[in-house]
């Protein structure tokens, strides 16, 4: 690649192409603000504290899933099994969450363990077999759904303890607990991505896998961790969902993987790996949530909601590819 543009220029000036990239990155943020402004004008119910708290609460589950999937997509992979992981976690956690059975930490830990195990299983098969992640996680998706049905015998598990239901349904200082959990894990995931060796390696593996290997990075280790993390975050989302609807549902989370992937991609995560941020993904998830909430407030039928969502996803990917072509 020739570089007649860069070498002789004033180094303090931001390079042209970086600026274009930057616009792409802010593009999603601008789109988000724009949608919020439009909704505020169209329906007065939108811009109220209580509604905004509800939107973010509703978004929290998808956002947690999207954080996990962002890690995976960054390394050039994909995880289709997270929706099923939500179901397995939901059932497992609910089995241990009946009142007067175990302290609340037990369902949380068993649920998390279930998700981490499924994630680790994905990682193991992907690194050992070299079968594409798409196919492996598609298989895990079906296995997970089956496991959830077996464990629950096809029936929802209800009658959960109040302390467990507090996780997704409670409030701390007037703020719903899912929002607090969301913020905490947003910070953790951002730090992992931006400030740790592991995060850097994720970018490297997704950016150019052979070069990452030749730089001494253990690809398998990175992938193992990434899929396990993704499973763990899906488990967290599953626990939150279970607590929020106060039942363990074997058929929970159907199609959740698509919403999560959409959030990551709308947020600027490159489908080929190597680029993306947690902030972008969070905004992607918020955008999806805000649109769905806004259309509900306006009593628009779900048919149109689906069309709108599809247009946004394609738009985001087109924006992404335009940016890539410019560089």
């Amino acid at each position: 690649m020739e570089n007649h543009l860069k070498t002789d220029r004033n180094p303090t000036e931001k390079p042209y192409k970086t600026r274009i990239k930057g616009m792409g990155r802010y593009g999603i943020f601008i789109a988000f603000i724009l949608v919020c402004v439009v909704l505020s004008v169209v329906t007065p119910k939108f811009l109220t504290v209580s509604n905004l708290l509800i939107v973010v609460t509703q978004v929290s589950i998808n956002a947690l899933l999207a954080f996990g999937v962002t890690f995976v997509i960054l390394t050039g992979g994909i995880d289709l099994s997270i929706g099923s992981t939500v179901a397995v976690t939901s059932v497992v956690a609910a089995m241990f969450a009946h009142p007067d059975s175990y302290p609340v930490i037990v369902p949380i830990l068993t649920g998390l363990a279930a998700g981490l195990l499924l994630g680790a299983f994905n990682g193991l098969v992907i690194t050992k077999s070299k079968v594409p992640p798409f196919i492996v996680t598609l298989g895990t998706m079906t296995i997970g759904r089956g496991l959830a049905l077996i464990l629950s015998k096809g029936r929802p598990i209800s009658n959960l303890s109040d302390s467990f239901n507090f996780i997704g349904g409670g409030q701390l200082a007037g703020i719903p607990t899912p929002i607090i959990i969301l913020i905490v894990f947003f910070i953790i995931c951002s730090v992992v991505l931006k400030k740790t060796v592991l995060g850097r390696y994720m970018y490297a593996v997704g950016g150019n896998e052979p070069a990452a290997k030749a730089s001494g990075i253990q690809l398998n280790k990175v992938k193992m961790v990434v899929y396990t993390l993704c499973g763990g975050l899906a488990a967290l989302a599953g626990i939150l969902l279970t607590s929020r609807i106060t039942t363990g549902q074997p058929n929970a989370g159907v199609g959740f993987e698509l919403d999560a992937i959409a959030a990551a991609i709308i947020g600027g995560t490159s489908t080929t790996g190597g680029t993306g941020t947690m902030t972008g993904t969070l905004i992607g998830a918020l955008l999806i949530g805000v649109i769905s909430n806004g259309l509900d407030l306006m009593n628009v039928t779900s048919y149109y909601q689906q069309v709108v969502m599809g247009i946004i996803i394609i738009g985001a990917v087109v924006l992404d590819s335009l940016n890539q072509n410019k560089s």
């Binding site: 119910k45 298989g139 079906t142 296995i143 029936r155 407030l297």
Partner: protein, 317 residues
């Protein structure tokens, strides 16, 4: 009872559309070979992920054991196409009777036609198909919608604002339950349908939908009609969280255990009981009668029943 799950992936699964998982369960306790050849009945159920359907299926299995009938039960996973293939395979296996819990009114019809063409009797359970089967056992979903909305109308004294949560749009149950509800609404001009939207039969979606409605209409909502208990429970949760439950009536359909408990607690005002046990039992009984050449009813309608705190005891197990 033991269940053996045979799960397999078809060789190619590049598209999830083609992922074909199939849960077969065979009654493992072979009770009383009561002389002569044992009857074989093929059963295809809409979805084993739905509690009500699982209840129907369990009842069929229980009754089959009592009657000494060999069962082959498969899960159509909500796919009419898969259901047709399953029926084709029953035909190939030369079962004596087929029991089908249809996925869709139109799309599952060819299964009926094919079975009849192969001279194998077919019994539809729970929902209908356009093609007429040998016998039908089920309940009229329109009636359930009617019962639920009627309850709301009476509670509100014929005046107030109602919101309605649909199931998957276009499914038979959704269409009929909506039809029944709207019939009642027409009779009460002061009963206003404020908003209606799909919650896709799902508790979490129902809850999110209710939260958004609360933002939109707040205290204007007087009653919620959810087309199934899952969504109803979601609505109850959202209303409780918002501190509005005492002011809003919630009614849903199916009478799943969770909903019955909620009725007992007083959080859910009413649910409508669809008798899974009777549907299951009647369908296998009818199937056996047909196979043995005995007289049978071409249509057995099992009535819905409104469940409130007053008559709850009858339905709790």
């Amino acid at each position: 009872m033991k269940r053996i799950y045979f799960s397999y992936f078809s060789a190619i699964f590049f598209l999830s559309l083609f992922v074909s998982g199939c849960n077969q369960s065979t009654s493992s306790e072979k009770s009383g070979e009561s002389g002569g050849k044992k009857l074989t009945v093929g059963v295809t159920m809409l979805s084993m992920q739905n509690e009500f359907i699982v209840n129907v299926s369990d009842e069929i299995e229980k009754k089959a054991n009592e009657l000494g009938v060999e069962l082959i039960t498969v899960d159509a996973e909500r796919s009419a196409l898969k259901q047709i293939e399953q029926v084709e395979s029953f035909i190939a296996q030369k079962v004596d009777v087929i029991i089908m819990n249809p996925c869709e009114v139109e799309a599952s019809s060819p299964a009926v036609t094919k079975a009849l063409a192969a001279k194998i009797p077919i019994v539809n359970v729970n929902s209908e198909t356009t093609a007429k089967p040998t016998a039908f056992i089920g309940s009229d979903d329109v009636e359930s919608g009617r019962i639920a909305m009627k309850f709301i109308a009476e509670k509100l004294g014929g005046k107030g604002n109602v919101v309605m949560m649909h199931g998957y749009m276009g499914q038979a149950a959704q269409i009929k339950r909506e039809q029944g509800a709207r019939e009642v609404l027409k009779q009460y001009p002061n009963l206003k349908l404020l908003a209606h939207q799909t919650g896709e039969w799902d508790r979490a979606k129902g809850m999110a939908l209710m939260e958004n409605w609360i933002q939109s209409y707040g205290a204007d909502i007087n009653a919620v009609f959810a087309q199934n208990d899952e969504m109803g429970m979601g609505a109850v949760k959202a209303l409780t969280d918002a501190g509005l439950k005492s002011k809003v009536i919630v009614v849903s359909i199916d009478a799943i255990p969770d909903a019955l408990q909620a009725v007992q607690k007083g959080t859910l005002d009413a649910t409508v009981f669809q008798n899974a046990e009777q549907q299951g039992a009647k369908s296998i009984e009818t199937a056996v009668k047909i196979a043995k050449g005995e007289a049978f009813d071409k249509e057995t309608l099992i009535p819905f029943q409104l469940v409130t705190k007053d008559n709850l005891a009858k339905f709790m197990k």
